[in-house]
Each structure stands twice: as C-alpha cells, then as structure tokens.
Amino acid sequence: MTSSDEAIVTLRGVRREYAGGVTALQDVDLDIRRGELVAIVGPSGSGKTTMLNVMGTLDRPTSGQVVVDGFDVAELSDREVSALRAGRIGFVFQHFHLAPGVSVLDNVADGLLYAGARLRERRDRAEAALRLVGLGHRLTHRSHALSGGERQRTAIARAVVREPALLLADEPTGSLDSQSGEDLVRLLLDLNEMGTTVVVITHEQVVASHLPRHVSMLDGRVVEDRTAVAT
C-alpha cells in the first residue's frame, strides 16, 4: 500500500504552449499527495483548465515532467495513457457531458466501458455508484429528465464508478444553482473522506472555502499554494 504522503501527481517545470505563441502554463511545479483535497483557483485564462488537462493526461506538456500515480506520462504511448485514465483518473466537467436518451444507469456504466468490465458488472457497479451519490431512485430515468444537480451527480457517479485514485473536477458547480452547488461540494468532501484524491478547479470562493488546500494561478503560473490549518 502506498503511504498517504506519496504524491499522486507531480508536475516539474511544466510548460504548455499552444500554436500562435500562447503560453497557458509556465514552469509549474506542483505535488498533489494521495488523499488530498485541492482547489485550483484563479481568474479566467489563468491556465486552470490546462493544468487539469495536463494532470489528467488529456494533454501533454510542451516541456517539463508529469508523473501520475508513478507513471511518467512522457514515456507512455497514447494507448498506455488511455489505460491510465481508464483505471486511475476520474473527470467531472462543468457541462456534465451525459448521453441524452440513455438511462442514468447506462450513462454511469459507460464509465467502466474502457476498463474492460463486462456489461453486467458495469451495471452493478454503476448502481452502487449512483446509490453512493444519492441517485438510487433515478436509475432508469433518461439523463435529460434530471435536474442540473442530479445530472452533475450522475457525472460524478460516472467518474467514481471506477474507484479512481484521482478525481479531477473542472468547475463542477459552474452550471448549478447555489443549493445544488453546496450539495455537490459536500459530496466531493465525502468522496475525499473515503480516500479519493480530489482536485477541483473553481473560481467560486464559496466552493474553494470548503477545500483545505488552495493553489492559486495567474497567467499560467502558480502564484500561491496555501493549505489551511485544520480547525
């Protein structure tokens, strides 16, 4: 078993440039330890989403080193990086990305599709994940029949159904009303309690205030990395 101090994500001198000379990340050094609950905050255009994509292996840095769960991403092929995502990283997006016309259960079960699980097992585990996020009564509903909060819970269930070591959430409350947003933050806290490392990108102070560690970004750099002392 790995110790809780071991870093699950390590960024060293990470730089990400886009065509046209736009630099989204500049020399970022960051360690996220197992079991941590981190908020990445900063204004629009500060490089938060790029950072999340790089940590989640959806994007590769122009230079620098990214190590996720012990794997140096630069040394992995596209297939291996995909397998890394399938087995260890869960994503939650602002716009949910649920399949319309498909039941809530199957939307979540699809979270296990690329991890090699059989349909029966996928559905069983999806049901358990939906009960975990409080949607046990919505299994057969179509995703478009759900409220915004329920949709985001479904998306979280889809992300955690694989029991990933790392959960990355990009503005998860961005499309929700304040009550749903608060419920969602509580859910993320619960998941973290259960051992999942959670990284949340947000520009909402209310959300960030619930999270112990704040990494602040500006113009592609980490300008502050502060951990609140537990009271």
């Binding site: 959806l58 794997f71 297939r79 995909s82 995502r85 997006f93 716009h95 990305h97 699980a117």
Partner: protein, 399 residues
Amino acid sequence: MTTLRPGRLSPPDVLRLGAYGLRARPLPVVLSALGIAIGIAAMIAVVATSTSSRADLDRLLDSLGTNLLTVAPGLTLFGEEATLPDESVVMIGRIGAVEAVTAIGLLPDAKVYRTDKVPTPQSGGIGTYAVRTDLLETVGATVRSGTWLNEATARYPAVVLGAATADRLGIGAVNRDIQIWLGGRWFTVIGILDPVPLAPELDLGALIGWQAGRRYLGVDGDTTTVYTRTDPDAVEAGRGLLARSANPARPNEVDVSRPSDALAAQAAVDKTFTGLLLGLGAVALLVGGIGVANTMVISVLERRSEIGLRRSLGATREHIRTQFLSESLLLSLLGGGAGIVLGSTVTAVYATVQGWPTVVPTWVVVGGIAAALIIGGVAGLYPAIRAARVAPTEALAAP
C-alpha cells in the same frame, strides 16, 4: 510496476456503441440508409427479376419441350424462294427419331378481314394457313377460347385464330355467331389460340383445315413449314437428317431450326440489358455510399464533445475508430437489409404480375449484404480515422 493495458471492447459492446450513434440521430440515419437501400434494392431487383424471368423460360421450355424442330423452305442457289416437295411430310415421318410430324401451308391469296366491308388492302398482315388437326399437339399450342379443328370442322369453313389475329380483328371470345371474311367467303370462328412460344408465326395466323382450303378456296397450298417432334436424345442427329429427308434432291434449299434455341437466345439478349441495369444499380449504391460518408463526417463533427468524454473515460484512439466504423457498418447494413427486403418485394410483385416464379438467388442476398458492408466500411473509414485523431482537450472544448 504494473503495465498499462487498455481494456478490450467485446463485440456486443462495439455493437451497442454503433447502435447508440444511430439512435442519437435517427433522421439523417434513416435518409442515408435509404440511399443504400435503394442501391441494393435496385441491384437485387434487377438480378432477381432476370433470374425469375429465366426460371420462367426454363419452366416454359420444360413444358413445351426442346425437341421441336421446324423445317421450312429456304432459298435456291439463285436466291429465289424454294418450296418443299409435296412428299416431304411423308419422308420426314419415316425418320426413326421423329415422333410426330405435321405441316402447315400458307395460302397467300386468302386474305383475312373482319367483314366483307373492309377495303381489300387492309388485310392486317394476317396469314391464312392450311393446317392438319395434329398441329396443336405437335407445337404444344393451347386453345384459349372455343375449340380446335377436328376431322369434321377441318372440312368446313371453320377457322381457328392465332392470339394476335384475334386481337387484331377485335374478337375476344368465341361464340356461335362470329364469322370473318376469309379468302372471299365467310368462315366461322370456332376457336382462339393462346400465344404459341415455339411457333410464333401461328399467332398472326388464321388456321383452317387442309381439306377446307382445297374445297372452299380452291387452292392446295405448298407446304411452308413442317413441325416435327423428335426423340429428345436424338434432336441433333435428327436435325441432320431432316433436310435430306424433306428434299433429297436439294437439301441445301431446306432450313431446319429449333425454336427453343431462339427463346434461349432471346434470354441471352436480356442478359446484356440486365448488365446495363446492374450498372445503374451500382451507381445508385455509390451515391448511397457517399451519403453514408457524408452522414458520418457530420456525425463526427457534431459529436466531438462525446469523443472528448470517451477519451477522458479511457477510450484509446482505436476504441473511437472502432466505434465510428461500427456505426457506419451498422448504418449500411441497415440500408442493405432494407434494400434486400425492398428488392425482393419488388421482384415478387413484378414476377407475380408477369406470372413468373419468384426467384431471389441466395448469392444475390449474400452479395447485397457484402456490398453494403464494403460500402459502409469504405464510407466510414475516413470519418472514423478523423474522429480518432481529434485531441481530447479540443474535443472537450467543443460545444
């Protein structure tokens, strides 16, 4: 350290993924499947109709027999029309392989009119033939209405009309009062024949008894055609003997033919036409394939965020490629299946209307499915490769 290996999609999963894409966009899917369906249906209908027609011909030849040989006078060495000697029928009848023999004689001066009021030049091209009573059986003709000539009616002014003659004279069915003006006197119509496939010259003929011709028209026509039925196993051998028996002095002035060959040749001509229609069907299929490719390209563009999500869930490029390819194959298969049903239905309806047996060969159905799969594969390949190349972050950023 553990190795990272992406999960494999099981065939049912691939099928589900393909079907999901189709269900998500029903209208474009139905329209592009329709394109494939029309192409496949056209090809199936063309081939199956031609096969059904061929089956009908085979059935017809089976029932009519392919052992009918006709003997007719040809041309003399000087290019004039020859005649058959009077004793030719008797001579032919002596050939061992000949099972039945009968003859007809054209009476060129006996013109046929519906009434005596019709102007002389309007004879309608109908030929009057003096015939023997065994003609019907030998050429395999059937009576549509009324009766055939018998020993009694063959001596009197009674006439049996060919199918086309009856049409031309406007006589639909036989009753006691119908008479026609034939060779300058009234003849009673006692029967109408069905079309005679092996002796089409009889269709536009008015057939009277040989004795009646002699008695009422005062002519004893030359034998113009001798019909023989030979032993089916000795048709070719009999064919060689017929000319020499019919006119031993000048066998070169005798034409011997096998009418069933003409029917088979006609079917071969139809084949060329089938090839042309098949080509048109292939063009329709190609257009259908372009429709599928178009639908798939648009599908990839519209579903970028889905591609991004699947990549975030751990899908490899290969998984994405497989998903879109299976979608394209399913779409074409759907169209192909519908095309087979449509093509078979069209064939069945057409064959039934024509009175043919419906034959949809298995190879055509298998070929239709294979064509649909090939079209789907080719049409889906580029969009699938394109989908797999989309960068996950770019895809997720799509609206």
